[in-house]
């Protein structure tokens, strides 16, 4: 077996130089809950692993101008324990919390979930619905990328050679805004989404929706930000007509596959139902805010 190198740089520049300078495949290691499985199965054969967890700011959560910055490699257990973040962005936090077991939560990160680029990743539709951006560093410096622009297909991302995510920015919320994420699985725990749905909404003083984002997971090669579903919510108090339009728009956007978790028809129907339920939770949460 050719030897596998490992580096644990302590500066971003050093990490970028290592990743960009590798002659073969170089993989970024955060929590490793996907990477180590792929290494063992032989699905990926890197020559270099760059452990990012020693980089400043990449582990932990800080408040920033009324919003939050989550270090890219911060484990799920730390994210769920953060009271301020859980209050402001319950959808993002509950999506992360759904991933795997307690053991997985001790290591798994938002950046790993995003860059593993599974169409069924739970945290990704929630981040997209919440308008989260990723701060990407690489040989050409730093750029801010909306999360929806990162995955390009199963296992593929838009990040170039030498690039990786250092942190996520969650903007300051307007007063009456909140989010929610629901995942449908045929059991209660430890499974992969048949469909996932993230919704964020902003309401006015009368409870009418003034802005919305709806993102579906596991129904296409990448998570889908569904503009038609958001449009169904804007201007409504989530009445029956709005729910019906939302359901139809969500179903219309689906381009799923049939696999052991569900058929195309089943996933499509579930997407509509899940969108309605998720929107109801997001509206209820937003309405409780002042």
């Amino acid at each position: 077996m050719p030897s596998l190198n490992y580096a644990a740089p302590t500066t971003v520049n050093e990490a970028v130089a290592l990743l960009a300078g590798a002659s073969g495949l170089a993989k970024v290691l955060s929590g490793g809950t996907d990477l180590l499985v792929q290494l063992r199965s032989g699905r990926v054969k890197p020559e270099l692993i760059v452990d990012t967890k020693h980089l400043p700011g990449i582990m932990g959560i800080r408040e920033d101008n009324g919003g939050f910055i989550i270090g890219a490699a911060t484990p799920g257990a730390v994210i769920e324990a953060h009271e301020g973040l859980s209050h402001a962005y319950p959808g993002v936090v509950e999506a992360m919390d759904l991933i795997g077991s307690t053991q997985i939560q001790g290591r798994a990160s938002l950046a790993g979930n995003l860059c593993n680029a599974s169409p069924a990743a739970d945290s990704v539709p929630a981040m997209i619905a919440a308008g989260v951006t990723a701060i990407v560093v690489g040989p050409n410096g730093k750029r801010e990328v909306p999360v929806e622009q990162v995955p390009t297909g199963p296992g593929r991302t838009s990040l170039g050679k030498g690039e990786f995510i250092v942190e996520f920015r969650l903007p300051k919320l307007p007063g009456r805004a909140s989010d929610a994420y629901l995942r449908f699985i045929p059991r209660t725990e430890m499974d992969i989404a048949v469909v996932g749905c993230g919704v964020s909404v902003t309401l006015d003083a009368a409870g009418v929706c003034t802005a919305a984002r709806v993102c579906l997971g596991a129904v296409a090669p990448t998570p889908l930000l569904v503009a038609g579903a958001a449009a169904a919510l804007v201007g409504s108090r989530l009445d029956a007509a709005a729910l019906a339009k939302l359901d139809a728009a969500a179903q219309d956007a689906c381009r799923p596959i049939t696999d052991k978790r569900g058929t195309i028809e089943y996933r499509t129907r579930v997407a509509g139902v899940l969108a309605r339920r998720t929107a109801a939770i997001a509206f209820e949460r937003a309405a409780k805010r002042v």
Partner: protein, 162 residues
Amino acid sequence: MSKHHVSTTINNEPVEFLCETQETLLDVLRNTLNLTGSKEGCASGDCGACSVICDGALMCSCLMLGVEAEGHVITTVEGIAREDELHPVQRQFLEHAALQCGFCTPGLIVATKALLDANPNPTEEEARYWLAGNLCRCTGYDKVLAAVMDAAAEMRGERQAA
């Protein structure tokens, strides 16, 4: 690449070892350090038989590289008992016969210890969710849950030691 030299703390003892990059912490524990209490069930983070506590967080040692242990504080099942005295979780597992073949037991003991450190008074539902990543193929979970709830009660001083 030459082997990595790693300095870490395992079960309150300073430990140094050499490992290849691709060796997991579980490989190192079992094959290099002869700490064979942690088991390899699935080697993919699904079964929990290799559970360890690292810096207070429960994790699968099969999903962590040995080289990542540098500078961290790790507890394995071998570090749960104090001297000759079993931990209440271990005694309650014995009392309830909460095991059959025993392969999943070290992981369940470590995961339960982590649960009760984080939440001394869990509901049974909370305990079931916490332990969802620890799979048992023979006994099932009823006796395990009885042991967990009684260990919690004992540690809160609400129940006599087993």
